[in-house]
Each structure stands twice: as structure tokens, then as C-alpha cells.
């Protein structure tokens, strides 16, 4: 039995089981969500997914590559069902976990493509730094409508941004590090027109967030702005020419909130792309 046939069989059985509990189930999907999660990211991927399913009912395909393992594919299929307020129905999302062993990790598109839901967009969340130019990335870029990364998970910034920029003409890209700094960009925008003459940006936060913030300011102002950074797990302080900017209200959004926001976007983001190119 092929992997795809096996997945479809398991999904069919799960739907029957869900229907047997007497609560009518509703399969609703607004997209196919593909997540590429190397072993060190597997738990984080599952945690984020748990906070996401309710907001973006979708078929989720979790790909766990293990290139050093024995060649083969392990399949786990599950349904996540959530009661709907006010009605005796549940809405169910399908989660397909595929452990890609050995050479199978190099050909993910051939496994993903037959499992995509027709006519709906495909979002790919790539955990960690993508292996630039490698077949698994190249293939999934070809399958996805939107590639979602978090460049704060990368060790190779800013050099890696040059590689990322090469993908812009092939796939729309979202960066969670960019989304995370949105309210800070709003704060900086509110300083217009005074900020027009800004010379120095000081950021306390992750490297990627700081680089993108500086890249944004440079690209929008069309000139150099120097960046100094103090390392921190979260963006906690931004200053322009030594003057601290008021922090946005409220706490930082959760990983699920951030990914959720990116999954609502379609099309390219020229402001982000321009920022990456000068980050």
C-alpha cells in the first residue's frame, strides 16, 4: 500500500470513528499547512500547531526529516476536533505526521503534492534555517504558495538573508521575526517626520529582529542607518539616536498568534523584501 493510500485509509477510518460518537462533524479547511520540522524543532512545531488548529482549520502535514535514519516513511494520522459554541457539532482538522527517513527526506514534494487540498492555498512553515539550494527546500518552495520562516531561528543572519532573497521571485515569503516587530515599526512610524534624520538605531532583542528593523528603516528612508544591538530573547527596547521609543502596549504575541497572523496573508510583501535586502 502506498503512503498516500495509507494516509487516505487512515483518515477515512478516523472520520468514521468521529462520526460514531453521535456528534456531527464538520471538516472545514481554509488551507493546507505544511510544516518542515527537523528533529530539534519537532516539539516546538507540535506546540505551535496546538494553538493554531482552532483558528485555521486546515489539513496539516507535519514533515519530520531524519536523513540519517533508515530509508522509509512512518505515517501517523490524527483528527483534532473542537466543539463549536452553540451548536452540537465539532469542527475537525486533519493532521498527517510523516517521518521521512533516509533518502525519502530528499523528495518531500512527491509525498506532499498528492495530499494537498485542491483549490486552497498551501502554506509551508520551515523550522530552523533552510538548507539553501538543497533539493528538499527547492521542492517545497515549488509546492507552496507561501513560505513561512522565522529568521530568529537561524544562526547565519545576516548572510542568510541573501539566500532568502533569491526565493522572493518564486514564492511569497513571511518571516515571523518580521511580524513580531510590527508594533515596534508602528511606534517608529509614529515618530515621523522627526525620524527622517535618524542616524542610529539601538535594539535590545534577537539578532534577526534587530537586523530586520534596521533594514526596514534603511529601505524606507533610502539611506544608511547604523545599528547597535544588545542581545535578548525578546524585543524589549528600541531607541533612535539614543532616545528610547515607547514600547507597544500589551505583551508579546505567542508563537501561535504570530504564525496565525502570517497564515492570513496572501501575496508578496514588498516592504519586507526590501528590508531583507539591506538588513
Amino acid at each position: 500500500m502506498s503512503v498516500v493510500t495509507d494516509v487516505e485509509r487512515q483518515l477515512g477510518e478516523l472520520r468514521e470513528q468521529e462520526a460514531a460518537d453521535g456528534t456531527p462533524d464538520l471538516r472545514t479547511s481554509v488551507m493546507t499547512h505544511v510544516a518542515w520540522a527537523p528533529p530539534k524543532w519537532a516539539d516546538a512545531a507540535r506546540r505551535t500547531l496546538a494553538g493554531l488548529d482552532e483558528r485555521h482549520p486546515s489539513r496539516t502535514i507535519l514533515l519530520f526529516p531524519e536523513p540519517r535514519a533508515k530509508t522509509g516513511i512512518d505515517v501517523t494520522v490524527s483528527m483534532r476536533c473542537f466543539a463549536m459554541a452553540g451548536v452540537t457539532r465539532e469542527v475537525c482538522s486533519e493532521v498527517i505526521e510523516l517521518r521521512l527517513g533516509g533518502k525519502r527526506a530528499q523528495a518531500p514534494a512527491s509525498i506532499v503534492r498528492p495530499l494537498l487540498i485542491s483549490d486552497l492555498p498551501t502554506f509551508c512553515r520551515w523550522r530552523g534555517e533552510p538548507p539553501w539550494g538543497e533539493p528538499e527546500l527547492e521542492q517545497l518552495v515549488g509546492v507552496c504558495d507561501r513560505l513561512v520562516v522565522d529568521s530568529s531561528e537561524w544562526t547565519g543572519v545576516p548572510a542568510a538573508y541573501e539566500q532568502l532573497a533569491l526565493l522572493f521571485d518564486r514564492v511569497a515569503v513571511s518571516d515571523i521575526a518580521w511580524g513580531r516587530a510590527r508594533d515596534w515599526r508602528g511606534r517608529l512610524a509614529a515618530l515621523w517626520p522627526g525620524i527622517k534624520k535618524a542616524e542610529r538605531l539601538s535594539v535590545t532583542g534577537p539578532k534577526a529582529d534587530a537586523l530586520l528593523l534596521a533594514g526596514w528603516l534603511r529601505s524606507r528612508l533610502r539611506r544608511e542607518v547604523a545599528l547597535t544591538r544588545r542581545s535578548a530573547k525578546e524585543l524589549t527596547r528600541v531607541a533612535v539616536d539614543g532616545v528610547a521609543v515607547d514600547a507597544p502596549l500589551g505583551g508579546p504575541p505567542t508563537a501561535s498568534d504570530l504564525l496565525s497572523a502570517e497564515l492570513d496573508l496572501f501575496g508578496r510583501d514588498p516592504i519586507y523584501e526590501a528590508s531583507v535586502k539591506v538588513a
Binding site: 472545514t28 481554509v30 482549520p57 457539532r89 469542527v91 515599526r185 515621523w192 528612508l221 516592504i271 519586507y272
Partner: protein, 501 residues
């Protein structure tokens, strides 16, 4: 400031947040404020959608301190809010609240409100921007508008939110509009019909104008008729004083029901700006043919059972006259006399103490012209119906004929359901959240314009005028049913029937 003036704003996708402003609620101790307005304000605060510089002034006759009012509103949010209660969110909101106990006609009290607003401008940076919310009975309307007008300053902008009912007939609505016009421009007046704030009502526009498959068949050639139902299972619930003088025709038909017709029948607007949308709606209201006496029926509920519980008849409700002739049910056959809808009936009904709470718009399409399976279809071959559930179970269903698995060719009607709660599980915002926010932003798209109100009342006046000539034989339907027999006869005469429930 636009992104052309400030390049840092381009592509920022910031949440729509209003400019600094103060919100003044007249009727701050009333039911609407505690059940709807404050839960909505809390939800806006919860999502950080309120302006950073913001203040709330509650104005009402009830003698109480700011502290007491704030405590009452906190309880209201805990009881009626849709979001989890967070003390830090509430504390920020509560810090912005001040209560002024005064009679609305009392100059001293109104001056005190003005003083509070000036202190907000100075201390909170509300910049002279004001949103006044008139959550008061119609009798208080003129006094408040005049008091506000007389004290109107030159700084900042002013927006006035007016609750329904907006008048009780065309003449009184005209009078109210004249009073408003003395002090406020039309673009400063926001007449609330909270149905327009409901997501599913707005989704009607998305359904029609964002989907290429519907608009080509959204006309008399493909649609047999339209049914709109606004049904409540509750009775007058302590509103007898208002309801006795209003009835179903003024309480529901004049506003909610006619707005639903307008959204269903309107032509595509050129854009989604307030005037474009409202221009198209008003054209529909102008096209509505005045129904003849046989095309309108009214009813009043008698004793009956609702959800297993025995309930009294309308005339037995507290504060209702023993011989009351107020209608608690109205049904009508209406025609939109224009090129798109000529000869296509819109059957509408609204009432209290009906079998269940339901607001739906059902678009019934023409039957298939020559189904080859007619003889073996049995009950199956029914026309397609596109059903828009406004409340509850918000969503859209399409009834289609499908083959029953197995031998032969049996056809059954099945429903394809799109449930809002299934596809977008973020929780639907309450109508008042959207409407209060829009008013703060100055977006009047989902509010009713003066000429819409005029058209609505003209139709209602013509219906009510005919009713004055005879005395109805009330009660004429049992509580817990779908209304009087005459409502069934209204539609049966045309060889049609109300949707099955």
C-alpha cells in the same frame, strides 16, 4: 497621515485604531450600557483597539459615584463579556471612566460633563474629539441633542451615535432629523441598526460581491422568491412600555427587516465606502412597492408553550393593556420594483414568541426546468435554496439534490453547510464592538442614513394606516408556533410555503 506623506507607514498593516477621543454615554446606568456597550468596550480594550488616549464619561439620572458605576460596569463585563476577564485590561479601562449623575435637561449637569471632557483633553490627550452615544429613550433625545449642540466646541471632531427607534413614523423621524441638522452634519450622525454590525449580515455583501458564481443568477430569472425570517422565542421581556406603542412593525420590520431586504436586493456598489453602499440600499428601499392590505398580516400571541415551558399570552404580560391590539407578529409580501427583481416576491415575517430564535435569509431558486428523474424523485426534487443564517449558527447553507446511494435514481435534498464558527474560529465579534469602533473611526458604512430612515418609515406608515381601519381579532396565534394561520395563507395563495423548520 497617508503612506505617501510618511513612507514608514507603507505596508505596515497596523490595526485600525481610532484617533484619541472621549466617549460620552448618555443612559450610562441603563440595560443597553451594561449588557451591550461595556462588554463591547471591554472586548475592544482586550484587543487593544481603543485609542491610547481615551476617556469614558457615563451620564445618567441615577445617583451614584464613579466608583459605584465602575463596579457595576465591571460586573456587567464579567456577566456579559465574550472574552475572559483580565484585571489589567479592565483596570486600564476603569481608569478612564468618570460618571456624572444628572438630569439631561439640567444645565449645571451638562456643564459638569463638559468640564470632565475638558479635563480629559488636558490630562489624557483626547484632543477635543468626542463620540456621544445616546443610549436613552426617544423622549430624551431632543433635550440631549440641543444641550450637546449648545456646548459644541471648535476643537476636534464630533460623532453622535443614535440608538433605534429613530422616530415612530415618518413625521417624527423628520422632526428628529431636523433637530440633528441644527447642530450636526449628516456625516457626524451614526444611526445604529445593530443588525448591520453582525458579521453574517456583512457576509451577505461578501457572498454576493466577492463570489462570481452568485451575482449572475441573483435576479428574477433564476430566483423564484426570497424569504426573510426574524423570529424571536422570547416575549416582551420587560419592554412592554415601549413595545405597546411600537409593535413588531416598528420594533423589527421598520429597521432590521428592511435593512436585510436592502442588502439582499441592492446592486453592487462601486466601492465599499459609506455613501456608495448606502446609495445602493436606499435605491432598494425606494423601489419597494407599497403592499396592499392582503399582502400584510399581523398577529398577536396568546398563551402557549415555548421550549416546553408554558408562557402567558401577550395581553397577560405585565404592563400590557388587557385589550391591547399591538401586533407581536407581522408578515408581508413585498416587491422590489426594479429591473432585477420585478415580479419576484420577498416574503418576510418577524415576531415574538415564535417556535425558535432564528434570523435567516432564504434565496429560493427556480426549479430545474426538466428534471429527467421527476417520477422517481418522490419528495426529493426540491428547488435549490441558499440559506443565510444570520443568527444563531451563523453561516451559509446550500440545499442541493443528490442521488441516494444504491440502486435506481432516488434524489434527496442535502445541505452543504458553511458555518462561520467552523471556518474562522476566532470568535465572532459582537455587533456593538464593530459599530462603536467604526463610529470612532468615522466609518458610517454600517449605519443608517437619514434618507434610508425616511424610506423605511414611509413604507411602515402606509402599512399602519391600513391597520387603523379595522380592529384585529387578537390573539390569533399560540406562543411557540410560527405565527397566525393568515401568514401561511399569505404565501399559500401563491402556491408557495414558508420554509420547513
Amino acid at each position: 497621515m497617508s503612506s505617501a506623506e510618511n513612507p514608514l507607514l507603507e505596508g505596515l498593516r497596523l490595526r485600525r485604531t481610532p484617533e484619541p477621543c472621549a466617549l460620552v454615554i448618555f443612559g450610562a446606568s441603563g440595560d443597553l450600557t451594561s449588557r451591550k456597550l461595556f462588554p463591547a468596550l471591554y472586548s475592544l480594550a482586550f484587543r487593544r483597539l481603543l485609542p491610547e488616549s481615551f476617556g469614558i464619561v457615563g451620564v445618567a439620572r441615577t445617583k451614584q459615584t464613579t466608583k459605584e458605576w465602575t463596579a457595576a460596569m465591571k460586573k456587567a463585563v464579567q456577566d456579559h463579556g465574550r472574552d475572559p476577564f483580565k484585571q489589567d485590561v479592565w483596570s486600564a479601562l476603569a481608569d478612564s471612566m468618570t460618571y456624572v449623575a444628572t438630569d439631561f435637561a439640567d444645565d449645571h449637569g451638562e456643564d459638569e460633563v463638559l468640564e470632565v471632557l475638558r479635563s480629559f483633553d488636558a490630562d489624557r490627550g483626547t484632543s477635543g474629539n468626542r463620540v456621544y452615544y445616546l443610549a436613552v429613550p426617544p423622549a430624551a433625545f431632543e433635550t440631549i441633542v440641543n444641550e450637546l449642540g449648545e456646548r459644541r466646541g471648535d476643537d476636534g471632531w464630533t460623532r453622535l451615535i443614535v440608538e433605534k427607534p429613530f422616530g415612530h413614523d415618518a413625521a417624527s423621524a423628520d422632526e428628529l432629523n431636523e433637530i440633528l441638522k441644527q447642530w450636526f452634519r449628516e456625516d457626524e450622525v451614526f444611526r445604529i441598526d445593530h443588525y448591520l454590525g453582525k458579521e453574517t449580515v456583512q457576509n451577505m455583501l461578501a457572498l454576493r460581491f466577492a463570489n462570481g458564481i452568485f451575482e449572475p443568477i441573483w435576479n428574477r430569472q433564476f430566483i423564484d422568491h426570497v424569504q426573510i425570517t426574524v423570529a424571536e422565542s422570547i416575549g416582551v421581556e420587560g419592554r412592554a412600555g415601549f413595545y405597546e406603542s411600537a409593535g413588531a412593525v416598528r420594533d423589527i420590520f421598520q429597521n432590521h427587516l428592511l435593512q436585510l431586504i436592502a442588502l439582499t436586493a441592492m446592486e453592487p456598489p462601486i466601492d465599499f465606502t459609506a455613501d456608495s453602499v448606502r446609495n445602493e440600499k436606499v435605491k432598494v428601499l425606494r423601489s419597494l412597492h407599497t403592499p396592499g392590505p392582503k399582502s400584510v398580516v399581523r398577529g398577536q400571541y396568546g398563551r402557549g408553550f415555548v421550549e416546553g415551558e408554558e408562557v402567558p399570552g401577550y395581553r397577560d404580560e405585565p404592563d400590557v393593556a388587557a385589550e391591547s391590539t399591538t401586533e407581536t407578529f407581522v408578515a408581508a409580501k413585498l416587491y422590489v420594483d426594479n429591473w432585477r427583481w420585478a415580479d419576484t416576491p420577498f416574503y418576510v415575517r418577524a415576531g415574538k414568541r415564535l417556535a425558535r430564535r432564528e434570523t435567516t435569509i432564504a434565496i429560493q431558486f427556480q426549479r430545474a426546468p426538466h428534471p429527467p428523474f421527476a417520477e422517481i424523485a418522490g419528495d426529493g426534487l426540491r428547488p435549490n435554496v441558499l440559506l443565510i443564517h444570520v443568527q444563531p449558527d451563523e453561516g451559509v447553507s446550500l440545499a442541493i439534490g443528490a442521488k441516494v446511494p444504491g440502486q435506481g435514481m432516488s434524489i434527496r435534498t442535502v445541505h452543504m453547510d458553511f458555518l462561520y464558527g467552523g471556518a474562522f474560529r476566532t470568535g465572532l465579534p459582537e455587533a456593538y464592538e464593530r459599530l462603536i469602533l467604526d463610529a470612532m473611526l468615522g466609518d458610517a458604512t454600517l449605519f443608517t442614513r437619514a434618507d434610508e430612515v425616511d424610506e423605511q418609515w414611509e413604507l411602515v406608515d402606509s402599512i399602519v394606516a391600513a391597520w387603523r381601519r379595522d380592529r384585529p381579532n387578537f390573539p390569533n396565534y399560540e406562543a411557540g408556533t410560527w405565527g397566525p394561520r393568515s401568514a401561511d395563507e399569505l404565501i399559500h395563495r401563491d402556491g408557495r410555503s414558508w420554509r420547513r423548520h
